[in-house]
Amino acid sequence: MGFLGTINPSSWSSYFTHNHASWCKYIRYPTSISCKQPTLFTSHRFKSVKPENQLDSMHNGNDAQVLNFPGGMVKFTPDLKFMSESLEERIHCYRVLDDFGQPISNDFVQIDEEMAVKMYKDMVTLQIMDTIFYEAQRQGRLSFYVTAIGEEAINIASAAALHMDDLVFPQYREAGVLLWRGFTLQEFANQCFGNKYDNGKGRQMPIHYGSNKHNYFTVASTVATQLPHAVGAAYALKMDGRDACTITYFGDGGTSTGDFHAALNFAAVMEAPVIFFCRNNGWAISTPVADQFRSDGIVVRGQAYGVRSIRVDGNDALAVYSAVHEARKMAISECRPVLIEALTYRAGHHSTSDDSSKYRPVEEIEWWRVARDPVTRFRNWIEREGWWSAHAESELRNSIRKQVLHAIQNAEKVEKPTVREIFTDVYDVPPSNLSDQEISLRETIERHPQDYPPDCPTS
């Protein structure tokens, strides 16, 4: 592996010598790379463009083989040869457990019983919560819902590898991260029903969770707009010298947006401690990845931006945990972005507004949901470790099911936010035009109460 030219890792260093004091305050010294060497992926290049080991000899340069173009030194070649559009072999995928939960690797971050059991419990909770909430939508009690079926390992294992200080910028299929951090089932239900206990005060669709207490930034419906946010937040963390990073999640579809490109580019240039976590689940609503991009997935794009990257088996909780754990260390200690592509399968529909059997075979969906279930796989591992049993399993599932149903029933009964909340938080303080619009609305409701919903309190 090599680069085509010498890239000065910090072209900012000359500027910093002018401002040494501010430099020390704002830049952290990179410590030695604590992670394993990046031999986890291989790549092949054509001979003629392979950079030789004689990179050093270029510096002594009278060599007519190199020239110092802006951007660094490049060696010349007389061969008219194009780089292939794809590598000979796809980038290998990091995996710790096989399909039956047997460890096949020694190279992973060990977790203890307490962590493993909590991870498993949260994966089950996420699965049950998704199933019941989805059914509630089908029954007409919820207007909308999005499940993370098939991605429980991604949700929980990545959250488990982070610290509470790390800032999370989600897309919309990462409720498990919030669950791990302590968001209760009741709080999830409150947001979905948009009642007065909702953090968002009833202003967003279901599953658009947000909690500053848990460092989980409110979900926005726009695709991949959270990527630049995560870079900006990482930049803020870097300026404050905090021992934390940001992580942002997005799907395979989100990588086609302009924001993806620019965010990765920025993060690399700005050396921001951000983890870019791509959930490559094969589908963007009905668009399969073959119609989304022609590159070898997302992992190969990292290098294009100068971002360290890895491909992991997204249905392997231990692999996801290890990858995020190491990525976090790298991001913070070396102040650099890291790209993780987790391969997985979207075993549910895109949302309750979608019926994916219309564009993919039902057998395929079933196979991934059952035979490749990340929850089952992880359970096999912890059972083998002696940390779990069938009895514990049924107890857990019954208990969670009851709790979820209870949460839904409670949330349904709670009243909605008042009319006042239509007008607050647009600005820090309502300006006069909004106050007048509120007065106007209230008067209209008073005059025509039969035309307005009865469960909408006006005070």
Binding site: T225, V231, G232, A236
Partner: protein
């Protein structure tokens, strides 16, 4: 030949008399709800060099920072002579003072660092504060605006510079869907105190793409505030106010006004974001304008005074929300309104302002509101053609004469 479009808008008949009473503005509620939204801080330090040491601070509430005489450069609230500088330097001074005062303030934009900004508003700041606080970005407006939003939600106070306001069209998604929205949709959990600023408006033969008036496109976005500066004095004051505001603020500067020279006070001052500026009190007609058109209006005012008219000129400054208090008081006095703007006829600030005044003050109008705007065309390059798309003083004079018959 009148080249810009004028249009009288008939009084709206739809409003019942009951509704019109609701919109009498006797108090400024939004002002009173905020503490110390505009004040003058006395400083013993030399404000041009070392703004770090402010020892004795006394706060006074100044409700109106205005310039009362048409020809005087600025209103000095104290007898100190002040110092002279150009408008872009005033912007920089305001920015620098805020960066000194609060270490969370940072600047993000293209070529703002060592290049000093394409209009030199950030000149010298990178040397003083370092590359992280004055951040040069790659060319992706949607992305660095998004970055600023993320940084703001995490505690920083970024000032985003669009090299030209027109480039911020690329950031429209982030500005509309995230900047304006996330405070609301998160239930108030995350605030976004960003300032988005840059030069806009019709310049000298910059071509259509570099002559955009973004205030018309942005004015509908809930959750943002918009202000336009026009003098060195209000440029500095608005810059400081925008940075201190907890809401996202878009500060519109004008390419042709950067070299205006003015004498501004030495001591620190911050203006109110929601206030209009009384440029010239008068009795016959209210002329509402902002940014560069203020100077065309004042030029027309000179001619009008010579012809015996007494126009009242108000620089509305606050484009969102409108300062209907100041505007309303003026309408009640003169009963005639002309709006002079650089926006296009359709959907511009003038269109909204016309609707707003009609809705709130139509009882006080003796004649339909006249709105002078640019035509609904992309700005042509040729100098003569470009001149004809911008409202000229002669047209303003003609419009006043016609209105005051």
């Amino acid at each position: 030949m009148a080249a810009a479009v004028t249009q009288g808008i008939g009084a709206t008949a739809a409003l019942s008399s009951a509704n019109s009473n609701k919109f009498q503005f006797t108090t400024r509620r939004s002002l009173s709800e905020r503490k110390g939204s505009s004040f003058v801080i006395r400083s013993d330090g030399n404000p041009r060099v070392d703004l770090n040491q402010h020892s004795n601070r006394t706060r006074q509430l100044v409700t109106n920072a205005v310039s009362t005489k048409p020809d005087s450069a600025s209103a000095s609230t104290v007898s100190k002579p002040g110092h002279e500088l150009l408008l872009f330097e005033a912007l920089r001074e305001g920015l620098e003072e805020e960066m000194d005062r609060d270490p969370h303030v940072c600047v993000i934009g293209e070529d703002v660092g060592h290049y000093g900004g394409s209009y030199k508003v950030t000149k010298g700041l990178a040397d003083k504060y370092g590359d992280l606080r004055v951040l040069d970005t790659p060319i992706a407006e949607n992305s660095f605006t998004g970055m600023a939003i993320g940084a703001a939600m995490t505690g920083l106070r970024p000032v985003v510079e669009g090299m030209n306001m027109g480039f911020l069209l690329l950031a429209f998604n982030q500005i509309s869907n995230n900047c304006g929205m996330l405070h609301y949709t998160s239930g108030g959990q995350f605030k976004i105190p960003v300032v988005i600023r840059g030069p806009g408006g019709v310049g000298r033969q910059l071509g259509a793409e570099h002559s955009q008036r973004l205030e018309s496109y942005f004015q509908s976005i809930p959750g943002i505030q918009m202000v336009a500066c026009s003098t060195a004095y209000n440029a500095k004051g608005l810059m400081k106010a925008a940075i201190r505001s907890e809401n996202p603020v878009i500060l519109f500067e004008h390419v042709l006004l950067y070299n205006l020279k003015e004498r501004i006070p030495d001591e620190e001052y911050v203006l109110n974001l929601e206030e209009a500026e009384m440029v010239r009190p008068g009795e016959h007609v209210t002329i509402l304008t902002y940014s560069r058109m203020r100077y065309h209006v004042m030029q027309a005012a000179k001619t009008l005074v010579n012809k015996g008219y007494d126009p009242e000129v108000i620089d509305i400054r606050s484009l969102k929300p409108f300062d209907l208090y100041t505007i309303g008081n003026s309408v009640k006095k003169t009963h005639r309104v002309i709006i002079v703007e650089e926006c296009m006829r359709t959907g511009g600030i003038g269109a909204s302002l016309t609707a707003s005044i009609n809705e709130n003050f139509h009882d006080y109008l003796d004649a339909p509101i006249v709105c002078l705007s640019s035509q609904d065309v992309p700005t042509p390059y040729a100098a003569s053609l470009e001149e004809w798309t911008v409202v000229q003083p002669a047209q303003i004079v003609a419009a006043v004469e016609q209105l005051c018959q």
